[in-house]
């Protein structure tokens, strides 16, 4: 098995659904960070069969991980300091998501207004329903 070394400080995002790591890399805008990122695809997992893992070497305050709760609840976030897991971060559904998903309602103003961010607001926490801030159209899971 391929070995990727320990990180000193940062995050290990474990139990990512196999094949989803690149989408998460983009959502977290890791391309914009000047730090070490390891993307492990299709790692063997007892629980999941196959899984992806992301290791990010960075200051632990640098990343906004709330969006992960929206993308995939099952992801485990391990917070690493001095090479050890110091905490497992609970993922909380963000109240608002900006420019992560797009409103697909063709009648929505976001479809024509230049430079307007796509903002979704958490409308029902229990049912995990997000609605477009502007047209209030419900975000459909299939479009994720």
């Amino acid at each position: 098995m391929l070995n990727v070394g320990k990180i000193e400080e940062g995050f290990v995002l474990d139990h990512i659904k196999a094949g989803k790591s690149l989408a998460i890399y983009e959502h977290l805008q890791l391309d914009k960070l000047d730090c070490t990122v390891a993307i492990i695809k299709n790692a063997r997992s007892n629980k999941m069969g196959k899984k992806d893992i992301l290791k990010v070497e960075c200051d632990i305050d640098m990343l906004d991980l709330d969006v992960l709760a929206f993308i995939d609840h099952s992801i485990t976030v391990n917070v690493i300091k001095n090479g050890e897991i110091v905490a497992k971060k609970d993922l909380v559904l963000p109240r608002q998501i900006k420019n992560v998903i797009k409103c697909r309602n063709p009648r929505c103003i976001t479809s024509i207004e230049q430079g307007l961010p796509h903002i979704f607001v958490l409308a029902d926490e229990q049912k995990e329903v997000y609605r477009c801030k502007y047209c209030e159209e419900k975000y459909a899971e299939s479009a994720k």
Partner: protein, 304 residues
């Protein structure tokens, strides 16, 4: 600075104040005739809507203010590709308050975010039309005397009718409202509305024929059933008469039942009903002006 995007932007207490002001205007319009002297209302209508626009213009004129604006996108800078954000920044330099209608849902909210003046949503696609809902509530309050403890029948196209959806959302905030939804199967009120009513324990029933329930109603809110909403011609022909209010159906109704309609009416209310004292739909248009006058004063923070 406040805007009006949805009828739920105002609490019921704030609505009470607004309706009290509208009632005071109705009683003594002269007192308010110069309340907006020197103020300008911009009516930015990216799609035509004669009644709503004229109602706003009448409201501002009756307050002594002036009007600027456009009545369709072709005569505005939108035809040159200007964004809503840019347009409102410019309009903010020209006017003190803006009423905006736009075919795209959420456009007035984009305007409100960039605006230096209060923005009123005068209808955004199939999304919201809050001043229609305020008009409906004001009419009910004025003619029925209260906004609680009544049975309201909503009849016609309950699936696509945004005025119906907004009115339901506004009425559930009051005590003792019972809803009866009268529509063909194809045009039933959407599930998310009935789910919301169940959740809040608000009584409702769904029926197909108006005659079967009209005697139970304190208020009847009529909407148009459009032919193109039906899957086939046969169903339309079979069902359309169920949703036409005429004198014989009115005979079955309670003597105080009020008939409301957001207008324009096509044939869903026979003209023979117009002279019935229970027909409130033309008075509704009058209340629409009073409530818009009250709204303009409130958003401009003018006390008379």
């Amino acid at each position: 600075m406040r805007h009006l995007m949805s009828p739920l932007d105002f609490t019921t207490e704030e609505l009470d104040k607004l309706f009290d002001l509208a009632a005071s205007i109705e009683k003594d319009p002269q007192k308010y005739a110069h309340a907006c002297d020197g103020k300008i209302l911009a009516t930015c209508f990216y799609e035509p809507s004669t009644r709503t626009r004229l109602s706003f213009e009448s409201a501002m004129t009756r307050l002594g203010g002036r009007i600027i604006g456009f009545s369709d996108a072709a005569s505005s800078s939108a035809s040159k590709g200007e964004s809503v954000s840019d347009t409102i920044r410019i309009i903010s330099c020209y006017a003190d308050i803006c009423a905006m209608r736009h075919p795209k849902e959420g456009a007035p909210m984009v305007a409100a975010e960039k605006s230096g003046i209060p923005v009123i949503n005068a209808g955004d696609g199939g999304h919201q039309h809050p001043t229609q809902t305020l008009t409906d509530l004001m009419t009910i309050r004025s003619l029925h005397g209260k906004l609680n403890n009544f049975t309201i029948g909503l009849c016609g196209d309950l699936k696509f009718g945004r005025t119906v959806h907004s009115l339901i959302h506004a009425l559930v905030r009051y005590e003792g409202i019972r809803f009866i939804f009268i529509s063909p199967e194809e045009l039933k009120v959407p599930d998310y509305i009935t789910d919301m009513l169940k959740e809040k324990n608000i009584p409702y029933e769904e029926v197909i024929r108006l005659e079967s329930v009209i005697s139970q109603l304190d208020l009847l809110y009529m909407t148009r059933v459009q032919k193109e909403r039906f899957f086939n011609e046969e169903d339309y022909v079979r069902l359309k008469d169920f949703y036409i209010l005429n004198a014989s159906k009115m005979e079955l109704a309670n003597k105080n039942m009020l008939v409301l309609h957001p207008l324009p009416r096509v044939n869903e209310i026979s003209v023979e009903v117009d002279d019935d004292p229970r027909a409130a739909y033309f008075k509704q248009a009058q209340y629409g002006v009073y409530v818009r006058m009250a709204l303009i004063l409130t958003l401009l923070g003018i006390n008379v």
